[in-house]
Amino acid sequence: MSFDPILLFFILGLLSGVVRSPLRLPPQAYELVSIILLLAIGLKGGVELSSTSFMSLLPQILVVAAMGLALPLLAFPVLKIAGRFPRADAASIAAHYGSVSVGTYAVAAAYLANLGVTFEAHMPLLLVILEVPAIIVGVWLAKGAAANGQWRSLAHEIFSGKGIVLLLGGLAIGWIAGKDGVATIEPLFFDAFKGVLALFLLEMGVITASKLGDLKKYGFFLVIFAIGMPLVSAIIGGWLGLCLSLSVGGTAMLATLAASASYIAVPAAMRISVPEANPSLSLTASLGLTFPFNVLVGIPLYLEIARWLHA
């Protein structure tokens, strides 16, 4: 089976990071590339939504949101008791793993498309919905009742976050404009998408490499968690996909969403809302381990899980 070339860009970034090459996308270019990716994923989902009835999606939306609430509740005691992490750190890591990674989503979508495996077109909507609940649970886990005064400012922090605004905005634009409406912006947002994703993954490789060094600092338990949690989540996500009668591709996608860990929306929100959590800890796990694991090993595995569940 052929290896998707966009993964080779990730590996190139990883290698050049490991050999300490000065190769880097300038931060501003990385941001531009992220903006295009987020908008494009939103747009794609919105266009598809424009030919679906929203009500028919409601059950899926509710189930997926419930999953986003449940996953951090599952992760938290493991981190706190087995991992002996302080409350704030356990809560913050749990929030990262309950939420999703847009980069992982994009790689999975490309992987399935390469294999000719189709999936439900409204996946970007589920992606957006999964971003949020875990953050709320995370803050509640960290602060308990003490969080009560903060919810308004937290809600603002979350929903005005760059990632959510671009995904939701793209979704809305695609929805309103429909397939014909977005035709003129396709060359940049759809045709060039994989190339832009390649640049994004190149930089992600470099960033991942820079996190590898910190792994040692945080010990073996974090490594186990960063690999084990995605596997468990993928099975839960896959099983829910089956329950929701998603296609094989859709099941694999939901498993991947469940397995992925956030490194954009959640770190930003946690830094402000749970500042006592060590941001380096959760980012090292999420970026240094879970992202490369999912992208290189997990996604094909989750497709196998989906196939096996559907067999």
């Binding site: 941001e31 830094r271 380096s280």
Partner: protein, 100 residues
């Protein structure tokens, strides 16, 4: 140039708290500030500047010594414990010191 002296207070910290920090600074009476993007290393490790979460800002405030002290103590109470941060000041000569 009148040689009456004003203090230049510099704060280097995480860019994620820019909005809140500026609010705090203004609330203590500062009439202005200047921000430059930065990267660096300190007791909280490397902050490479390569993306949002790992970028620093370098905030400079010209103000009276009294305001500087107020800013320092408020900022310290609010942010020092959980955020990467250094803070220092020194007197400078300014044109029209009454402006600050």
């Amino acid at each position: 140039m009148q040689n009456e002296s004003v203090v230049l207070l510099t704060i280097v910290t995480e860019s994620s708290i820019e909005t809140k920090l500026i609010e705090t600074i203004k609330a203590q009476g500062a009439q202005g500030y200047t921000i430059t993007d930065a990267r660096g290393e300190g007791s909280r490790g490397l902050r490479s500047g390569s993306w949002g979460e790992e970028s620093n800002i370098r905030v400079e405030v010209l103000c009276s010594a009294a305001i500087a002290e107020k800013i320092e103590s408020t900022v310290q109470a609010k942010f020092y414990k959980h955020f990467a941060m250094v803070m220092y000041n020194h007197p400078v000569n300014v044109l029209r010191p009454d402006k600050f």
